[in-house]
Symmetry: C2
């Protein structure tokens, strides 16, 4: 097979991740490698830990990047805590809650599912009921930002329940970290994991991960060893978290260069400004989409700014339009998963993608397509609505 | 924390990996991202599969890159095949065989260890004895290139035993793939995994992985689900291997760009030329090291060309010299692990690092240091010996 040079076509990445990556991060990826035990590389790991603590808003010593994607972060969080027979309450209102429950069961745990319709939040009262009924519960696990539905799960009440019932609190922040507050210490979250390719705007391949001292103690005091060697945090602690820097596996050096640079960009912007930027661009996008007849699936106040899930009216062939957006305009947006397949679009405004130009470019393309197919009688309104939101913010 | 730009110091990477990375691969890493379900990216995945089949010398449909490092490849190979109670014969003669056995046990399997002293090969007769004694055996797992000792394990006889006793044959080719032949189809290897940062000269972060139809069938017909969701090949098959390209996790896009380019370089060179290059440079290095009084740990015929493990005489403080090589000359070599700590050096000549300039540069630095400390009375011999090997090859 003779292959040519690979030249990716230009893409505006507005799907559920990966998001657009800053040129500084792409440059960091291309730097020559260091050994994974080189003193200079170990210093870079220290810096990443410090920067990650900032974005997780935690002082947890055990704050690292798992050498796998966000799903590896999910598996790491469960596989270290859950032993056979342990009950774990899992909020299930989308793909990722469903997956969490499956991972609990693959660890031999008993997943107590607290369900809610896709597009709605998990009700803390239902979590409390499950806590009261289930006997001792090892952990409560919920998805902060359900990427499959665009729902923003409030965490305060569930955090309080975890303290009251002495359960470890596990939070999936794959899509939320860096886009909305993820307050690990204030909420007393015990294990929190994320992915790099969402609001941190780093390529996929690493899972930011933080663990409280009591969660780490639980992981170290297991009755039986963690069933995963690769994700065993008691072992990984020696390489990443406890200063000994003992070899466990070969860290993904280039990806860690990229993560450092992506986190540096987050720090330069500052979390409050970054959160406000995600909010503003989502508001503008949603105003424009509303003018096109596309309304958010989640209720007001429950909508994630970085993952805008809107219902596509039945007369619009959503898959065809998405394919056309990609082929004609180079714009990627996401379709629905599971029960939402064919009925929603998931439009990501994450990290570098959360900006005025992507929002206006997408709305303009949608207006053009909708007009072409006769779904829109008065074009221009979507851009106008978005522009109004930006104008108000600037005034 | 205000961090400066990260500028890695120049390093000649001659440790156990990562190896030097070709500028074309570094450039590929820096290309803008595509979505993990973008048709153009899915085509790139197809190409990687084809290229990996070439380097694994297999027609296995299920030939992919696992989204984790080589250790994730190891875990994936075991966690998919082994169910609680399954017996697995594991060759243990170094760190990675030891790890394989540990992973088998974490999967609830019964690891039947066939041991050999570090620095020697696993004896096929001992494997046969274990097969005869153990009752039904699910798999036999051996390390082709034991990175901790530099031992090259012959596979032919053990392959024959696996067929005779109807056991699956699992081979760790983390360090061998791309440097010496890894003949998956000819030997009937059922599961073979590698890492990208060794003889493929791609950054660490992916594990090339191939699985025979009968291994895949075993993974799909398990009595209980694979205990890892992240590494469940029955699920991953739908994304990578079976044409449906159904979402499982977000693939590490940039790393896969890099792997495609690294594999393209392998294909351009051709496997026979690549193997010969690894051989020649190892011969030259060993000739030079012998002149310095550093002799290989493994016996003749058992020495890996890409991982040269030599005994350091007791009068040489090996850790200090290694640290000096790094600090003064920017050269990384590896020390010993486990029982070999403090007594050996592991010098990697992998992929891009397997070349005349790195060999001569290292020998020159060692000669200078050895002369400085009075361990060498007649300097120049190491370079002369290496040069002689190169001269012979060119004549």
């Amino acid at each position: 097979m003779v292959l040519r040079d690979f030249t990716p076509p230009s893409r505006l990445l507005l799907g559920p991740g990966p998001s657009l990556v800053h040129p500084r991060v792409l440059h960091a990826l291309s730097l020559p490698l260091l050994g994974h035990l080189d003193p200079v590389f170990l210093r870079l790991m220290d810096e990443i830990q410090t920067l990650l603590r900032g974005v997780f808003q935690t002082h947890n010593r055990f704050t690292i990047a798992v050498s796998g994607t966000g799903s590896a972060g999910m598996e790491a969080s469960i596989v270290n805590l859950v032993e056979p027979g342990d009950a774990v309450i899992v909020g299930v209102n989308g793909v990722f809650g469903t997956r969490l429950a499956a991972v609990v069961e693959r660890c031999g745990g008993k997943a107590v599912r607290v369900e809610a319709p896709w597009g709605t939040c998990i009700d803390p009262a239902a979590v409390e009921q499950a806590l009261r009924r289930s006997g001792p519960v090892k952990a409560v696990a919920v998805v902060h930002a359900e990427t499959s539905t665009g729902v923003w799960q409030p965490l305060d009440e569930i955090a309080g329940l975890c303290r009251r019932y002495d359960a470890l609190f596990v939070v999936d922040a794959v899509t939320s970290l860096g886009g909305v507050p993820v307050e690990v210490d204030r909420l007393g979250i015990d294990v929190c994991y994320s992915g790099t390719q969402k609001c941190l705007s780093c390529p996929p391949g690493l899972a930011p991960f933080t663990m409280s001292e009591r969660a780490l103690a639980a992981a170290k005091q297991r009755r039986i060893p963690c069933q995963s060697w690769y994700l065993d945090m008691a072992l990984i602690a020696e390489y990443w978290a406890e200063g000994t820097r003992a070899y466990h596996h070969t860290a993904p050096v280039s990806m860690l260069y990229a993560l450092r640079e992506a986190l540096r960009l987050v720090e330069e912007e500052g979390l409050p400004a970054r959160f406000a930027r995600h909010r503003l661009n989502s508001d503008a996008l949603l105003a424009g989409l509303e003018a096109l007849g596309l309304l958010p699936l989640p209720a007001v106040g429950r909508r994630l700014p970085m993952l805008n899930c809107v219902t596509v009216p039945p007369h619009i062939p959503e898959a065809e339009v998405r394919a056309q957006l990609l082929a004609e305009y180079g714009i990627e947006i996401g379709g629905g998963l599971g029960p939402l397949k064919g009925t929603v679009w998931r439009i990501g405004l994450m990290g570098e993608s959360a900006a005025e130009a992507p929002v206006l470019t997408l709305l303009n393309a949608l207006e053009a397509l909708f007009t072409r197919y006769g779904w829109l009688t008065t074009p221009g309104r979507a851009l106008q609505a978005a522009s109004g939101v930006y104008g108000q913010a600037n005034s």
